[in-house]
């Protein structure tokens, strides 16, 4: 068992079945689908509360609808970070890294260009995941398994936008 937990990469089918079964239990025990982008929005609201005061944030229409509080969804996101840390620690793949091999092969190994690109991508991701009202987890896995039309439509356009942009970055810019 422990040896298995130390393996670097599992079969995508084992991981997929694992996530599928995990979502049965999240509906059953917590009445909640697995989703990640709500937790980011909550964190953003909490940071803004520190900077601008509680009232200014709680008054905003968006946070009235999606309160910036610590709840199940926020704890889930924290857990994702911890779970990945445990997994990478067990397999020995934890490492402090700025640039991946693919990025380095096209744009070099200097941290700054990657940091700036990731920051722009991150801003778009924070904005886009709230615009689409969900992310690869909330729409892509949890919404699609509920046969939601909104979620299937979203995930198709996540990939249409993603494939087009990735092809542009690696085949035109690089």
């Amino acid at each position: 068992m422990l040896e298995w937990l130390k393996i670097d990469i599992w079969s995508p089918y084992v991981v997929g079945v694992g996530i599928g079964v995990l979502s049965w239990f999240s509906f059953l025990l917590s009445d909640s689908p697995l989703s990640c982008s709500t937790g980011i929005s909550q964190t953003s609201g909490m940071v803004e509360k520190v900077l601008r005061g509680k009232e200014a944030v709680s008054q905003k229409e968006y946070y009235k609808k999606f309160p910036a509080v610590v709840d199940w969804k926020w704890m889930l996101l924290l857990g994702v970070c911890i779970g990945a840390a445990i997994s990478s620690y067990l397999s020995g793949s934890f490492n402090l890294r700025w640039v991946s091999p693919l990025w380095a092969s096209a744009f070099g190994s200097a941290p700054l260009p990657r940091l700036i690109t990731a920051l722009i991508g991150g801003i778009l991701m924070g904005f886009g995941s709230r615009w689409a009202n969900g992310c690869t987890s909330g729409h892509g896995i949890s919404g699609t398994m509920q046969l939601s039309v909104a979620s299937w439509l979203s995930v198709v356009f996540f990939f249409v936008g993603g494939i087009t942009c990735a092809m542009f970055i690696y085949h035109v810019v690089a």
Binding site: I7, I9, L22, G45, V70, S129
Partner: protein, 185 residues
Amino acid sequence: MLTKLHGKRGLQNILGLGFGIVFGFLLQKGGVTDYDVIVKQLLLVDFTVVKIMLTAVATGMIGVHALKSMGKVRLQPKAGSVGMNVIGGLVFGVAFATLGYCPGTAFGAVGQGYLDALLGGVVGMLLGSGLFAAVYPGMNKTILNKGFFGDVTFPDLLKMNCWVVVGIFVVVLSGILVLLEVSGL
């Protein structure tokens, strides 16, 4: 439904943390907390992301509909619109390729030590979410409700029994996975 359990907030927070730990563990073991695996999927040279997603969706679909038929869970499909899911989805897609992570996998990447995910991804996502909250009232009056169609599901839309639709989806999704394996992707 386990309504009593659902109402215990402290316990639910602990459960949320537990679900997150297992989710993050699985994402990392699947390799999708890595920029290269995600971007190679978008470049259509590595299909790990699609394999994990389709397997999770097919597995999850059978279970949650079975639990729903037994009265143990309530489904909560989101309401949608063309402005939200198509336009917002495209913005998300551009972000997906530029950042090289999605929200969940970015947090997983932070857990395994990737600094671009932390100082670029997480910082950027916090800024982007905050920005969206600031412009939300205006967008809610305009683009977010363009082509609104509500929280419909495919069984509603096709006026079919949900198990027939689940059956069709599971067969199609499994078929795609078999095709990917057969073609060596």
